[in-house]
Amino acid sequence: MKRIHNSKGAIIAFGLSVAALGFAAIAPGAPVIQSAYAKPPAPMAFCHAYPEAKACNTGFAECVACHTTPPARNAFGMQISEKLAPGVARPLSDEDFLKYLPAALKAVEDLDADSDGFSNIVEIMAGTQTADANSVPRALACAADDASRAADAQWNVCSFDAAYAFRKVHMDFCGRSPTRADMDAFRAITDEKAKLARISEALDQCLDSPYWLGPNGAVWNIANAKIRPAHAVKSGENPGPVPLGDYDDDYNLFTWANSDDHDVRDLLLAQYFVKRTGPVTLEQISEEELAKRPRGTAQPVPKEKRVGMISTRWFGAVNTMFTSIPRTTAAQAYRSYLGFDIARMQGLNTVPHEPKDYDIKGVGAPECAVCHATLDPLSYPFTRYNGISGGYSYNDDRLKDYVRVDGPRVAEAPAGGMIIGQEVADLLEWGKVAANSDAFAMKVTYDYWKLLIGREPDVNDQAEYTRMWRGLKSATTYNYRVEKMLHDLVLTNAYGRP
């Protein structure tokens, strides 16, 4: 799936969100109503019409398929709008919208919204943008003559070039080029299978290197945006001036789950912690050892309530902080582990009759409800986990402490919620649903793809990218073992074709 990372669009969307929140702030107790302007069911309805479309890998398309910044439509959205139930009074109810949308989509299939020479339906199925003339399906094959010449050149730019991949593996995983002797020895190999085996052997060696696995190494740095460390409030080793929590625990667990023969789903399932025993060695911490920790680095959530990376002391300290309904925490978890950035209107999956606005923040205002109908049910399972207030612990009655500040209804917020269309009873289930989702496998694969290929997977990468993340999920392929996936990723054309 191609994710749209349009910084200008994101800034505008963020600005609108801030404006909407500001409006909500001056009108507390605003009635909870569904938006009359945006159509949150649309992404899922689009994918019901085109389940095989590349944009529907996760089950729902992104808003930018039809909008610039919702509710403003792009060229494709405007074509649909013209064909959508003409003559019927606006605004359409959600029911009418869903009823008439398939016919409208069908009616514009053969049109070309962005005038790039490719019809809308061709672009939908190819995974390119229907409203962006610069986004067009294209073949990446070399002409026969070029392919023949390239095969004899220093770099074979027309197919997988084993020598190029061998060099890249050293650079990406070991942090250095191969030696001249290594390179000469590799070039002396004539058997193609032997070349691939040598690449795999080099990868195995580099996967245990400090550059890849060590503190501040490549895997560590993938976790930065998920953990969001801040030295000023670090506790434990090398503490900051206001020590609140030790993110070393988070980095260690992340590295553990992404290395060796470990299940990467433990990012959202682990009920243990990990310590570093050497530059590239880690081991699980016993509960006895964990219990002996001083107050500043304790992990107060009891073992049976732990949910991997999203229930750690640090995660609560920097995300939940002092809030009753930890929306920031849920949004960060959704963004970090499923790849859906709600601030960019990704992963919206409206839950009927939400948001209920238990804490009287005005999130039911139409401009806010577009996102909060997804975000709030996503957040409820986090409400029993304390941030800074409450000492990072688990407490079934936690919300009673917020009644004075957030009103009496805050205590009614449920422990259960909804994530990607599935009801969950608590954060443990939230973690399980998330960890087993396509979106999680895609996000794990996406992070490595971006790091190793050097860019987001684009339309021409879809076959190989899809093979990777589906393989990660498959028990008979990589079975959630990242290193197994990486062994195949370095043999893809995307990686090894110069």
Binding site: L140, A141, C142, D146, R149, A150, A153, Q154, W155, V157, C158, R167, K168, M171, G175, R176, S177, T179, R180, M183, N221, N224, A225, I227, R228, P229, A230, H231, K234, I453, G454, R455, N460, A494, R497, P498
Partner: protein, 217 residues
């Protein structure tokens, strides 16, 4: 330093010019290998400062922690140019991911690092000729009696520069480009001066170390 940079840029320009339009009097390579096939989907990646310095450290036999220090104190990557050279610094600067596009100052930083490293390598070579990597005096002034650098010495030095930095043998054209550049470096100066020869090695090293092939992969 400014003079070095300007001369270095001139070196790059001269090398580029040589590559596309050989000057009269120089060997012609028009019948060289046919033009390379362009990649249909190029994915060239920046090495980033740390990997760049690690490579130069290994290839030029200079300890990583000493290879490049701004003001003789600050490591060029860790302390001086970390972010513009594609690094991250999450806990203090909150830069969680490398910058998406090179900063305006990124190429300046790369050039500065390359010049630092090459200058240091040649200085070390002159201080300890027995362990010289690039500036091997050899027949040229080893005994203090400087002679005009001959083609053999120039070719061997050019070969050492390519071999050390890019870990491959240079093509005939690449050797020719570097050796022809000596006359520009020595213009107006004593051609047999060790200082001139050292400047030529520094600037040739700089030209190769700041090339696309050395900085990207």
């Amino acid at each position: 330093m400014t003079k070095h940079i300007i001369t270095g840029l001139a070196a790059i320009a001269a090398l580029a010019a040589c590559a596309t339009a050989p000057e009269p009097g120089l060997p012609q390579f028009a019948a060289d290998a046919p033009a390379p096939v362009a990649s249909v989907d190029p994915r060239v990646k920046f090495k980033d400062g740390e990997r760049y310095l690690r490579d130069l450290s290994a290839n030029l036999d200079m300890p990583r922690e000493e290879i490049c220090k701004e003001l003789s104190r600050y490591d060029c990557m860790t302390d001086a140019f970390r972010i513009v050279l594609g690094g991250v610094e999450a806990p203090n600067l909150l830069v969680n991911e490398p910058i998406e596009n090179a900063a305006l100052t990124s190429p300046i930083a790369v050039d500065r690092v390359a010049l630092h490293v090459c200058s240091n390598r040649v200085r070390m070579d002159r201080e300890n000729p027995a362990k010289a990597v690039l500036f091997r005096a050899g027949a040229f002034g080893a005994d203090g009696q400087a002679k005009n650098p001959d083609a053999k010495w120039l070719n061997a030095t050019a070969d050492a520069i390519y071999g050390s930095i890019l870990m491959r043998s240079p093509s005939e054209r690449e050797i020719q480009n570097l050796t022809a550049y000596y006359t520009q470096v020595s213009d107006g100066r004593a051609i047999n001066s060790p200082d001139v020869a050292a400047d030529w090695v520094i600037l040739s090293c700089f030209a190769v170390a700041s090339s696309l092939e050395a900085v990207f992969y």
